[in-house]
Amino acid sequence: MEREAPLPRIEPRHFVAELEGAGPVEVAEVRLTGIPRGAVALLCGGDGLATQAPEVMNALAEHGYETLAVDLGSGSLARADAVAAVRSLLALLGERGWGAEQVGVVGYGAGGTAAFAAAGALSLGAAISLSPRDVLAEPVALTSTPWLGMFGEHDEHTTPESVVELGRRLADAPCFSRVVIYPGVGADYFRGAADALGHAAAFDSWQRLVEWLNARVSPRLSPYAELWELRRDPSDPSPEGSVR
């Protein structure tokens, strides 16, 4: 994505973690002070962890999201293993106090495929895939995580027809989902380009990503909000609610 006037940059901290299904993996982390809005597990594709990830993590930090970023390879990981790896990331985020509903999973390329698989298997706040691959390769069951999939029209891995078919299959899923196809751009539309369509796709996809997270990832309660929760009568979850 393109950025014009970056804020002071946060350098991610790097460490190696043992992720179920993926083995020892390098992890990049951005922690925030105060009360962050939520957390994101960022699944990179290819060499994204070293190149684009720091920029994306900083951009997410501007919207109040802490991140853990990993590179799950170029698609060699089986979906079940990818889901297991995401589960391990959730456990790491849990150590920082993040519950599953307070976490969004964002994946690029092969990482997008992993995010799609996680959306079908886990109950998270939100899931977003940018240019995921082989989305029709296995049955999809979005049961509890709302998923946003964004594709370039000229993506060599995924045709527009298969995206439309995916949208049709997901329409009957219990959980809300949305697919978007950007015209005139390839799979790397999110990196931005000088031409109008490339610029529009990068800008719009980032805007959608942030809005998708903000509308779905549960915010962390502030200390005063926690006090309020304790004071409230648990038998009356919605004192202003209608008589039903």
């Binding site: 706040g125 709302p146 219990p174 959980c175 809300f176 903000n214 509308a215 779905r216 549960s218 915010p219 309660l221 502030s222 005063y224 909000a225 006090l227 309020w228 979850p237 919605s238 004192p239 202003e240 609610g241 209608s242 008589v243 039903r244």
Partner: protein, 448 residues
């Protein structure tokens, strides 16, 4: 020229319900007077059950629609647990609308003014910089109407906590909703998308028009010409086979006899006719022939005060009429379908929704034109005070082209707005072909 001073509405007689003549008239001041409009807001829309939307409009958790009910902006939503919720669309902080989108899906809605966030269960989940409020701050959730209930997927709210239960309020109109809803094995479904239009006329004029069988042939001549040209033979006897009914609590309907539904649409192919017949044969096994005979008849139903359900069997329209000013209303209409129908039947419904009911169709613009000319002429309400709504008062059985259903509505209106009581208008009960019961109901009656 000196204008005659306007009498206070409390003392003014808006309805002339003369059973001797007999004659029923409505004073046209009811269509223009801002004071009447204010009284309607308080005494009708602040008191009774009002339609919000249909449950099938919200198919997934966190789906929402925003719309106005009785002039109040509301959020019509399905929460995380799948329950239908209705919230006042205003931040309890400083008042900005929480949600400014017409529809969508979101677990959290954030007020763009100061950033307070609420979930679809109405709970305040986040306040930016909440330390400034102190630890004892009472965190307000979203406000809601006093009552919410639904009948067969039709969701109603009331701003009156003491309103009677919805099933009691709906009275005999329930049966007419059943006749619509029984037309699907899997549940009737409201299609995505709406017709939205406005009319420069008093809202009550469209209520009258919505079950006015008398105007159909004269006002909608163009549409009937088009249907005839498409190969349908319109039988005058079939068109006239109808009754008007008082369903209690101000609700009423114009009801076509068995087989009248579908006479208005474009012709179906043999395969389409066969599918339709097969579907209704299936219903006969489940509900009994007498009930299904009624299902095959057309019905124009008004649930007091402003919900219209028009079922021409090959097309079901739900219409919500919103008063905005004494001389201006907004209208929203949805199409309701049995989702299991085949492509041709679905196409016929959509064609009907577009070509007859659409704001650019062959019927609704005619109605809008008629009502707007009424409203313009009501500028002379002092010179020509009364509109006549007497048709069929002296008939043993009121026909659909009579005006019993409108008188029923107006009597309820006068009771609520002006505290004036009117006795029920006596008529003979309709013939048995209009009274067939659902088989399951018959069994219950027998068992009971």
């Amino acid at each position: 020229m000196t204008q005659t001073p306007t009498a206070p509405t409390e003392a003014f007689r808006f309805i002339d319900d003369d059973r001797e003549s007999p004659r029923f008239r409505v004073n046209r001041r009811a269509m223009v007077d801002p004071e009447v409009f204010d009284r309607e807001r308080d005494r009708i829309f602040g008191q009774v059950w009002l339609y919000v939307g249909h449950e099938t409009e919200l198919s997934k958790p966190h789906d929402f629609k925003t719309r106005d009910v009785a002039g109040r902006p509301v959020i019509f939503a399905r929460d995380k647990a799948g329950a239908i919720q209705v919230w006042i669309n205003s931040c309890p902080h400083r008042g900005a609308m929480i949600c400014r989108e017409p529809a969508g899906n979101a677990r959290f809605m954030t007020c763009f003014y100061h950033g307070w966030s609420f979930n679809t269960s109405g709970k305040l989940v986040s306040v930016p910089g909440d330390t400034s409020y102190g630890p004892g701050f009472q965190r307000p959730g979203l406000a809601s109407p006093a009552r919410l209930d639904s009948y067969r997927g039709f969701v109603f709210i009331s701003f009156n906590p003491d309103v009677e239960d919805l099933v009691d309020y709906l009275a005999e109109a329930k049966e007419f909703l059943d006749l619509v809803c029984d037309q699907s094995e899997v549940g009737m479904q409201v299609l995505e998308g709406t017709h939205e239009y406005s009319v420069k006329a008093n809202w009550k004029l469209l209520v009258e028009n919505s079950y006015d069988g008398y105007h159909a042939v004269s006002t909608h001549q163009r549409y009937f010409e088009m249907v005839t040209a498409s190969g349908v033979e319109l039988d005058a006897a079939t068109l006239g086979d109808s009754i008007g009914v008082d369903l209690g609590n101000g609700h009423g309907a114009s009801v076509g006899g068995p087989g009248t539904g579908g006479v208005f649409g474009r012709p179906l192919s043999q395969a389409g006719e066969a599918e339709k017949e097969e579907r209704f044969e299936g219903f006969r096994t489940k509900y009994g022939g007498a009930w299904v005979d009624r299902m095959t008849g057309a019905r124009n139903l008004v649930i007091f005060p402003n919900l219209v359900v028009i079922d021409l069997v090959m097309g079901v329209v739900i219409r919500k009429i919103d008063p905005i000013r004494p001389d201006y209303m907004e209208v929203t209409a949805w199409e309701m379908v049995p989702p299991e129908e085949g492509e041709e039947l679905k196409k016929q419904r959509l064609d009907n929704f577009l070509t007859f009911w659409g704001p650019g169709g062959l019927a609704s613009p005619d109605d809008v034109e008629a009502l707007e000319t009424c409203q313009r002429s009501f500028a002379a309400h002092r010179e020509l005070e009364w509109s006549d709504v007497s048709r069929g008062m002296s008939s043993p059985v009121a026909l659909g082209s009579d005006e019993l259903q409108m008188r029923t509505w107006w009597r309820r209106w006068d009771q609520l707005v002006n505290d004036r009581e009117h006795p029920v208008e006596p008529h003979e009960p309709p013939s048995a072909r209009f009274r067939g019961e659902r088989a399951e109901l018959q069994e219950q009656t027998t068992a009971g």
